[in-house]
Structures are given as structure tokens and as C-alpha cells.
Amino acid sequence: MTEASNAVLSPFTQSALDFVKSLEVSGDFAEVRESGMAAFESLPFPTRKTEDWKYTSLHALTTQDYNRPADNFDLDNASELYEVDGLNAYQLVFINGVFVSELSDEISEPGVSATPLSVANDAQRELFKQHVGNIAETRRNLFTALNNATVEEGVLLHVEKNVQLKKPIQVVNITSAQGQNSSAFSRCLVVLEQQAEATLIEQFVSTSEAQNILLNQVTEIQIGDGAKLNHYRLHTEDESSLHFGGVYVDLNRDSQFESYQIALGGKIKRLDVLVSHNQPGSHCEMKGVYLPKNNQHVDIHSYIEHIAANCTTDETYRGIMADQSKAVFNGRIHIHPDAQKTLANLSNKNLLLSNKAQINSKPELEIYADDVRCAHGVTVAQLDDKARFYLQSRGISRQEAEIMLSFAFINELLESIPLDALRHKLRPLLAQQFTTNESLTQHILDEENGVHSEGAQ
């Protein structure tokens, strides 16, 4: 008998355990599954008194049992949901956690293994087994522990020493109507060996009739000496969706991690990003935008661990909350005693578009080294009356002025996205969050009008 089994398990934990045990598995990844299960069982179900979950209620998980599998899907025209014109990427597509080979590319570049586990060869499965669970933290995250306990399908991306992936890898997670009131699990493991380079785009979309699906997704990333990953995480699912995501990154000597996260709101959307500077000279650059509206909720927790010396972190998040929506941003930077000469900067700016919208932003700096430069800044504001009047005084309607100013708030981050095709896809998609009236967004989206037509700055 384990210690945890003596305690009374929460209904969610009990039901999830029953669900996990009922899943058919290959047995290849038994080790990570078992340790994940043990960790999951031992972690209490978070309440509002749990510090990491203070502003994100998990009440929805106690009123609806999501611990059942999705029905078989049947999906036409799925590609319209995720296609990015001109992107020219390798695509790997999953629907409700199930790999869809008809929609996916077979990737055969020398020195690259990029494959779903369900069609991976023995060597690739072995490689996955070696690394999976090594980076993801189960100590404090119930959902990552649960994800570990279900490891079976997912993506392996392995790039050998000195190899540069020629095209971005676009991993698409679709949730569909067949997943109603169910849970889907998804896993991604990225291993870049020394001096390797890759671009990974993780995309989360849903069909318009998709409702009330819980996706539990964990991505583990190991970036070798001198290697570089460009990482995009784009959440544009239906507002009824639930998402628990974890991104865990280990940085080695002189490696680079550049990340863009874009998140519309959901019923519950929680993303934990944990980056560890394990070796000297690594650089982490993270930019994020969150845009909840209606009754949506977004929660981003980032944890940056500066363990080694001479590393840099530059973290910029911007959020716009409309209607009755709520957002949480928690940005922690932890400088360990040996992390001398660290340069770390955290900026979080928020715009509230309504009196009922909420943001809870908390920067946390914990510094145990004496020769570091560390800064953080948080702002919460409403639209600038002076700027709005300036626009109105030139004949622009109040409504269009407010949309221009809202979009401007995130535009600076969008303009820095180096992939033109992705930027062109995201701009109208995000502008639509403010209005569906195209006459009000035509000027902000006119490619002739801005610096965005000339590429990254």
C-alpha cells in the first residue's frame, strides 16, 4: 500500500486514475507512466488556497467528469482549421489526441527524427523512452503528473548534431465535437543535439462545434550545447475548451530558446512554462500575448530557473482582457547562487477593456547571487483617453479608435514574429477578437500600412 492510498482521494483524482488504468497501452513507457501515476496520486487536488492555483478555479472539473475517452472522429475539411498560407512546414496532425496520418507529412530529412510515436520505429521509440519525463516537473503540477501517467502517443523531434531542420515542424492538436466531455492527452518531446537548429510550431485549434473538451498537453524540450529552438505555441481553440499545458525546457551551454505564445481564452486555460538555464551562456527569449473575452479564463505561469552563470532571459507578456474575462500571469525568475552575471528582464503589461475584466499579475524575483542584473515591471491600464481623442479628432470613430489602440497594444509583439506567413495568419485572427465587423479592422490589417509589411525589425 502506498502512503497516498491511505488518504481520501478527490473525486477528480479517483476518476482520472480509473480512466488511466482503463487505457490500452503498449508497455514501452511503463516507467514514466508508473512514476507519473504515483506523483499524480500523491498531489492534492488544488483549491483556491493552493498558491499556484489561487486565481484559477478548478471547480469545472468537479461538476463534470471529463475522464472518459473521445468518440471516434469523422472530420472533413480539417485542414482549414490550421493551414497557414505560405508557411511551408511539415505537418503532424492529431485529433482529440489521435494521430491522423492522412493529414500529416512523412518527414525524412537526414539527421532528423520527426514522427508520431504510433508510427515510430524501435530506435525512435527507444530514444523517446530515454528522454521522456526527464525534464517535465511532476512535483508541483497535477496535470503534468497525469500526462506522464498516460504517455503513449505523441511527437518525437530529434535533431542530430550540427543539423538544421530545413522547414518548421507544425504540430496541430485539433479538438472536435466527438471529444465532448472527454479528455485527450498529447505529448511532445524535442531533443536538439549540439549546434542543431529547429523551428517548432505547436498549434491548438478546435472545430466550431467542439465543446467542453479537456486537452492535457506536455512538451519537453532539451536544447544541446550551441543549439537553437524557435518555438511557437498558438492557442486558438473554442472558448468552451479546457487546456492544461506544460512546456519544460532544459538549456545547455550557449543554447538558445526563443518562444512566442499566443493564447485566446477558454473555459479554463492554464499554461505552465518552465525554463532551466542549466549551463553557462544560454539565452531564453519569451514573448506572449493573451486575449480572453466573454467569460473566458487564461492563466500563464512561467518559471525561469537560472542555475548556471552568464545566462540571459528576456520575457515580455502582454494581455488584453475584455468583458467579464479573467487572466492570471505569474512570472517567476529564480537566480540560484552560482548564476553570477545573469541578465534577466521580465515585463508584463495589461490592458483592461471593461470594468468587469480582471487580471492578477504577479512577478516574483528570487535572487541568491550578488552579481546579477534583474528587472521586472508590471502595468495594468485602461485605454488611453488622450490617444483615443487624438484619433477621434481626426474623424476616426470612437469604436474604431478603441480597436486600433487595443490592437496596437499587442502589435509590437506580433511584429517581431520572424515567420512572415505566421504573422499574416495571426494578425486578422487576433484583430477579430475585438470585433467581427471588418470595416473596423480594415485599416489595422491593411498590409500597406505598417511596418509588418516589411518583415521583422
Binding site: 481623442f389 479628432s393 474623424g395 476616426i396 490592437f407 499587442i410 502589435n411 485599416h443 505598417g450
Partner: protein
């Protein structure tokens, strides 16, 4: 063009304009001078419809329409233009996007179609040249990182693009060196037209050497206390504002 009768207005419960009268006919240039705190900037803000400026009495008729009930953007589309004393910086909105949205709003108001992007870009480049602004300013954020002079030239460029019927220049000369002042004045002079009127609000006579007014008014304590021709400005420059107040007493 513009007829202001007994205009009274307050800001945050404080009475600023206390019965101001002014008539501006097409093609005329009126200068409004006065000491600090007289209500000069309030006049521009009240006429252009800024929130927080409450009209408590009087009438303002612009081209035969009562504008006091109109939103700021409606007044602008009717042809009223305020050149700001402190133009606002708006990062994330490109100057070009802003200018096109402005011009399109006026065109739609007149029942015309929005301008196509390429035609507009060409036009905007022309106007940039006219006020001696580099074309790169079109792609930058509105007034973002512009120097004082560049901001004011940007105001004049907007005026040229929008072709308003009445332009109010609110202390446009403040913070300008002599070269920038000349560029701005040339821009304004190039827009003088028998059908376009100007109200030039200024603290100093200097600007009026370059933009020669038809009338000069002295605003003190919320009212126009003296009016005259352009020579009044010179007299003010010489004697200060004190003598008018004494004269009135």
C-alpha cells in the same frame, strides 16, 4: 464659417470660458492671444469635442450646424481640425494606418469610397515631402519618438491630407526652433484658401510674423477683451498683456 455666441465652459467644475464671442468668415485667419490660464487651449478643446470639457452655456455654429451635440469624430468629418499643442504618441499604430483611417472616415462621410492603398501611399508621400518629413515616418508609430518639430510637422501633414474647412492651431509654435517654425508656417500658408479659415492660438507674436492674421483677439479670463488687426499683436509684444487689463478696468 464659425459663429461662437456667449460660450461658457468649465473643466472639472472650474469655469474657464465665461461668455466668449467670435465670428470667423471663410478665408479669414484669426489669431487668439492671451496670458496663460486665459482659456486659450480650452477653446480649441471645447470646439473639437474633447471629453471632460463641459459647455454650460452659449452656442457654436459651424457651417450652419450646431456642433456642440456632435461627437469629436463627427466634427472632424464636418471639416474641423485641431492641430494639437502636444500631439500624442501612439506606439503600435502606424502613422500611415492612422492617416488612412482619418482620410477614409472623411471620405465615407461625404459619400465617397475609401481610397485604395497605393493611391493613398502616393498621396501621403507627397505630403511628407511638402512638410519636409522623411517617408520613413509613415511606417513608424504615430508620433512615436518624433522630435517636437517632427510632431508639429506631422500635424500640418494631417491637415494637408484632410483638407479641413476650419483649422485651429493650438500653440503650434510652442517648443519649435526657428527652422521648424518656418516649415510649419509655410505649410499653413500653403493651405490658405478663400474657403478655408484658421484660428491660431498662440502666446507669442513670433508665429504671426510668418502666418499673418487678418484679426487678432485678446483672450483674458474666459472672454475676448480686445480685437484688432495684425498690428495689435505687435502692440501686445511690446507692452505685454497688462495694459489691456488696465484699460478694461
Amino acid at each position: 464659417m464659425l459663429s461662437i455666441k456667449n460660450l461658457q465652459a468649465k473643466v472639472e467644475e472650474k469655469d474657464i470660458l465665461k461668455g466668449l464671442n467670435l465670428d470667423v468668415k471663410p478665408g479669414e485667419v484669426h489669431a487668439i492671444m492671451g496670458p496663460n490660464g486665459a482659456g486659450k487651449s480650452t477653446l480649441g478643446n471645447v470646439l473639437s469635442g474633447r471629453d471632460g470639457y463641459t459647455v454650460t452655456g452659449g452656442e457654436v455654429s459651424f457651417l450652419g450646424k450646431n456642433i456642440l451635440d456632435m461627437e469629436a469624430e463627427e466634427r472632424a468629418r464636418e471639416g474641423l481640425f485641431l492641430a494639437f499643442q502636444y500631439p500624442v504618441e501612439i506606439p503600435g499604430v502606424s502613422n500611415l494606418e492612422f492617416l488612412k483611417a482619418s482620410v477614409d472616415a472623411a471620405r465615407l462621410h461625404r459619400g465617397e469610397e475609401a481610397m485604395d492603398s497605393m493611391t493613398f501611399l502616393k498621396l501621403a508621400r507627397e505630403k511628407c515631402k511638402a512638410v519636409n518629413l522623411d517617408q520613413n515616418f509613415l511606417k513608424r508609430g504615430v508620433n512615436e519618438g518624433f522630435s517636437g518639430g517632427e510632431k508639429k510637422r506631422n500635424e500640418i501633414m494631417q491637415m494637408m491630407l484632410l483638407e479641413p474647412k476650419l483649422c485651429i492651431l493650438d500653440e503650434t509654435d510652442s517648443g519649435l526652433d526657428i527652422d521648424a517654425l518656418q516649415v510649419v508656417a509655410e505649410g499653413v500658408n500653403s493651405q490658405r484658401d478663400p474657403n478655408r479659415s484658421f484660428i491660431i492660438v498662440t502666446h507669442y507674436q513670433r508665429l504671426l510674423d510668418y502666418i499673418v492674421p487678418d484679426f487678432v483677439h485678446v483672450l483674458a479670463d474666459g472672454k475676448i477683451v480686445k480685437s484688432g488687426g495684425k498690428e495689435l499683436a505687435l502692440e501686445l509684444e511690446e507692452k505685454g498683456y497688462g495694459w489691456i487689463e488696465n484699460e478694461g478696468a
